[in-house]
Symmetry: C2
Subunit: 335 residues, 2 copies
């Protein structure tokens, strides 16, 4: 355990159910480990009111007031530049000034990314940070899709850096030794793809990363590689497509159940087994996704994060702080 | 019904279970409609032997001998150029010479695409053909993803053409009036994406297509647009990712069932309801995907197509021929 004091700056106004879920999640997180504090950034009146519902160690939660909110509909760059009194921007600046170790937000993903870059800053040597999103796989763990949408139109040297950042992340935070890296492509053959994939392949092949070659769309959930590297355009589309699988299944089951009594009973019987089988696909269980390459920890969550989701985001931020993720990333990037 | 004689050239050596599934599927297709013939292209000894297992109208099936096979492992362009005596190349050339109306193959997708372009040829005015793959959606139908992998690195004018080709396809073959077109992107806002999406958006906005704006990865299975237009790189990755959903679900259910007796019973009870609910996602039910923009009908199927899958591919080819799809496409592209 490190001796520094770990403080998590929680954007308490970010999510769809803010500040209720944020406050509930913060309280839950405190119960799990005792060696960190939480700074709730948001409308202090609302937050203090919400906190009245809970019993907790008052030395571990503080409230910092903010007067603006960046919404899901806001244009990220514009909002981050203009709403300087928003909970997100204030929380980010607290990480920059080292008043906090980590930023946790279930708010507008684009705005969290931009605010992290502008207000916290990048690790020296990092051109573009990457979102390393976990996609559940058949092996019972998650494949990390990197970049899942921090930037579109990245170049080969960016993709190569995404692979490095995500490798160090899995090694440091998940104790995964020498994780495998696959390059997302339209076929396994070396010659497949276009200039970006060909150039990236060359960089990966001549590196000391555990590169296993091209992987295809079907290999992500198969778990063929621990890390799947791609441009943020395709990564974001795949991530959002993946997130639509459970809603699709639910609709299909409901539609079938509505066709008669026997189907209704069949689906009723299926529900519990199904949801237990698909636990690995519940985003609230892993909480959030890291934005890697920022000079501080940033964890981004779903707008719809439950209190359990918020709790898990905070705990990932705490854990990433404890294992000195930023320092490890910086070391590898600058050696 | 048209008065021309419809003949389907079936690449009988293409699929993983060729020629058994190809022959079985052909026999099944004959039973459904009476106004077309099938030309089985492949090793005539093998095919004639296989045909001995069935009773059928011998005037409707003919066999054309080929001495080479393009395998799934072959490099598409090289194989199509070198294996001129392959079932695929011979079948394609029969479409070019008008001995056949359509090419149907469950073989190497890349090779079927290349062979169609080189040996059948494109419709005048078409720069790049497109694969319009059906992805099941929540509305109980399919969203057409176009291009799902015929080409990578397409330009805005290509994507615009994909939208036109797929619109005419849905109107002509599926009687879908004025289908909606969405542009696959990382957000709904007009300014999202990169140069390709910005340029394509402009072309779509100024067209008479039913363009509804950007759609995201999550909107494909939601069925937000009838047609989702994208470059073949991202389209192929999404298509293959989508195809991995059912195997993923099966593995997860099996894993959970293996954890004890109660889970085993739960999953046993769930199976039938689940597979009925997810019928829409069974690729054998729609058979194959069309390659649009070729001067003839080309239907490409999964390597693992069942006899039912082959039957449905043949029937789609027959139907596309009857409604004069190629002539309609040519009309719209050249007006």
């Amino acid at each position: 355990m490190s001796e520094k004091i770990i403080s998590i700056a929680l954007d308490a106004m970010g999510g769809d159910f803010a500040p209720q879920n944020e406050v509930a999640g913060a309280i839950e997180a405190l119960k799990v480990e005792s060696d960190f504090n939480i700074i709730l950034v948001g409308n202090s009146k609302l937050l203090e009111n919400e906190l009245l519902n809970y019993q907790y160690d008052k030395t571990r939660i503080s409230v910092v007031n903010s007067t603006e909110v960046i919404t899901m509909k806001d244009s990220p760059t514009k909002a981050v530049k203009e709403k300087v009194n928003s909970s997100l921007v204030i929380a980010s600046k607290m990480v920059h000034s080292k008043e906090a170790t980590a930023l946790v937000s279930a708010g507008n993903t684009g705005a969290v990314t931009i605010s992290s870059i502008l207000n916290i800053g990048r690790i020296k040597g990092v051109n573009r940070p990457t979102i390393a999103a976990p996609i559940p796989n058949e092996k019972g763990s998650h494949t990390r899709l990197s970049d899942a949408g921090a930037f579109v139109d990245s170049k080969a040297e960016h993709l190569f850096q995404f692979a490095k950042l995500t490798t160090v992340y899995l090694e440091t935070v998940f104790n995964k030794k020498n994780p495998t890296v696959g390059l997302l492509n339209v076929g396994e053959e070396e010659s497949k793809g276009y200039q970006l994939t060909l150039d990236t392949r060359e960089l990966l092949e001549n590196s000391n990363l555990n590169f296993i070659g091209n992987v295809e769309g079907k290999d992500i959930m198969k778990g063929k590689a621990n890390i799947v590297v791609c441009d943020g355009f395709v990564g974001n589309i795949v991530l959002k497509f993946a997130e639509s699988i459970l809603p699709f299944l639910k609709t299909k089951l409901k539609d079938y159940a509505s066709t008669g009594l026997v189907p209704k009973i069949q689906i009723g019987l299926a529900k519990s087994g199904l949801s237990k089988s698909l636990k690995v696909a519940d985003p609230n269980l892993y909480g959030g996704v890291p934005l890697l390459g920022i000079n501080g920890i940033t964890i981004i969550g779903h707008g719809s994060s439950s209190p359990i989701g918020i709790k898990n985001m905070i705990l990932e931020a705490v854990n990433s702080s404890k294992v000195n993720l930023v320092e490890k990333l910086s070391e590898v990037l600058n050696k």
